[in-house]
Symmetry: C2
Subunit: 328 residues, 2 copies
């Protein structure tokens, strides 16, 4: 049991009822995404793989589930002031989309170094952008400033129970659509998705293992899990750029208590798995999505003959900057 558990009230943690409520709350705004399979990838892996296609999700990533649950959970008075977050990635897009669906404002704090393509994506969903220096301190200070000026509600990318309950709806769909999974493998960055996956598994499929997949070069969750003590690290370097964020107290609670194991893989493993997914499944996915398949391919004995759910978390890539082209 985590020593950080006392930092928040365990009784307030979301359970499956909260997740089912989240599902109803967000139903009109997100897709129930499809699950695809590949005989060739089954042969290569020695397992039976079921890929949950959150790259086909609204805004191109599972993040929209948590963002919509948070936005549509707000009472009217709070909602009037809008929402804000600090994220240069998919959560910023997702929160902008969710706010647009509810007809409220969204301000996204982004480092001034963020690529124009990411800024354009946020404004496409009517999000406003506040730029800051590229550090955690500057980001949080900028978000505080937005809040003090507008009264906007902060929706953290992952260390937020509403967000975690929303992300859990992804595994609920997967467990409904595919019977008798031996395991679910999901990538781990800040831990929002894996925390939600644990909630769904605990209630709906207690015999299914939940494994987290992490880049070797951003292995703070792995080291935390193995040592039993939360390790955080700012700005590690990996092609899986959706997985750079460290765990925080709420996600660490779920990871330390409910994840069955965490596996790490190299940058080359991730790139190879990403190319396999593009070539065999014919879907566009981010490098972060390839980490679970890389883990499965690196640990064939572990997964041999098993039925394994793999969450493909998102498909927002810059087609001009593909890892196998910059690496070679």
């Amino acid at each position: 049991m985590s020593s950080l558990e006392d930092d928040f009230n365990a009784a307030s943690l979301p359970g499956i009822d909260d997740v089912q409520q989240a599902r109803e709350r967000i139903r009109a705004y997100v897709h129930h995404t499809s699950v695809i399979t590949s005989g060739q990838l089954d042969t290569i892996s020695g397992a039976r793989l079921f890929f949950k296609c959150e790259n086909f999700q609204k805004v191109g990533a599972f993040k929209v589930r948590g963002a919509c649950n948070a936005v549509f959970s707000l009472n009217k008075r709070t909602a009037t002031n809008g929402v804000t977050t600090h994220s240069s990635g998919n959560h910023g897009l997702a929160l902008s989309y969710a706010a647009k669906c509810r007809g409220i404002n969204c301000t996204v704090v982004m480092p001034s170094t963020a690529p124009d393509v990411k800024k354009a994506a946020v404004t496409q969903y009517n999000g406003s952008i506040v730029e800051c220096a590229p550090s955690t301190a500057a980001r949080e200070a900028a978000a505080d400033l937005v809040i003090s000026h507008t009264g906007a509600e902060l929706v953290h990318p992952y260390n937020d129970l509403r967000v975690i309950a929303g992300q859990a709806t992804c595994a609920v769909e997967l467990l409904e659509d595919v019977n008798d999974l031996d395991a679910i493998v999901a990538p781990i960055g800040g831990g929002g998705l894996i925390s939600g996956t644990c909630i769904a598994r605990n209630a709906l499929a207690p015999n299914t293992a939940v494994y987290a997949a992490e880049p070797e070069q951003a292995d703070d969750a792995y080291r935390s899990f193995k040592s039993g003590k939360l390790v955080t690290e700012d700005a590690p370097n990996t092609i899986a750029d959706g997985l750079k964020m460290p765990l925080r107290d709420k996600t660490w609670y779920f990871v330390s208590n409910y994840v069955n194991d965490i596996f790490i893989v190299s940058e080359q493993d991730i790139m190879n798995a990403m190319m396999l997914i593009w070539q065999r499944l014919k879907v566009v996915v981010e490098a972060s999505c390839a980490v679970p398949l890389a883990v499965i391919l690196k640990n064939p004995e572990k997964f041999k003959g098993q039925r394994v759910g793999v969450i493909l978390t998102g498909g927002n890539v810059d087609l001009h900057k593909l890892p196998w082209l910059t690496k070679t």
Copy 2:
């Protein structure tokens, strides 16, 4: 009516009954592929678009439909000698796969200049490769030699009625899965797919227009259609490398009699549409697949407010040689 009609017996042309038989014949060996949509692409195009995902098909392309129908149509005695074709593209793969499914030999004649990755793909499906000089004459001579040595049955990539009937099953599925299409737009190369699409439309949805989409730089079908006289051209240059083959007598018959219109687009139009598909639909498709969307985007008045089926023909791309990377 085409002046070439007399070259073969019109009574022997496949009709919808042949297509339905083809469908039963190949059912165990091909996927009924999914249809996907995108609110963003609908907004951009001003139409309601339904993308038929043959990139998810077995061997990654619709070609497997025609190849399987041809291979499983053979009587036992003929089948014993195997099959052969000349194709460095998806038909070579598809025929190798079909032959493997039936347990017979397949020999694919390929130019010695074909990339190793294409040769490897054929051998992956147990196909044998015979190399020849990179010209139509050399290719046909090599195929003749294979036939005289082995007695193998030639299965032409498109100018074969069994192949055309097989390709027609794609549009049959699309018309079953999506009601009230105003139009279907498919790419045109040798014309096998569009010929099959016409057969399906004629029988199942006579009010649906069938439009062919062709690269400006490989516009032999366009010029044939507009002049009423079959124009053939060897080895045009386009990034849509699946569309370089010219029409032949059988496909010209269908094109000249049943296609509603043919539209052409530039290389830049094709590349832009290809990137849109990758970015918005999150699927990996060949440049050839992007030609129909390019046509729709270039002719907004024509398609405005319409329900349009778009056939995404295949997803076998070399991830190291993407057009937007070599063009910029």
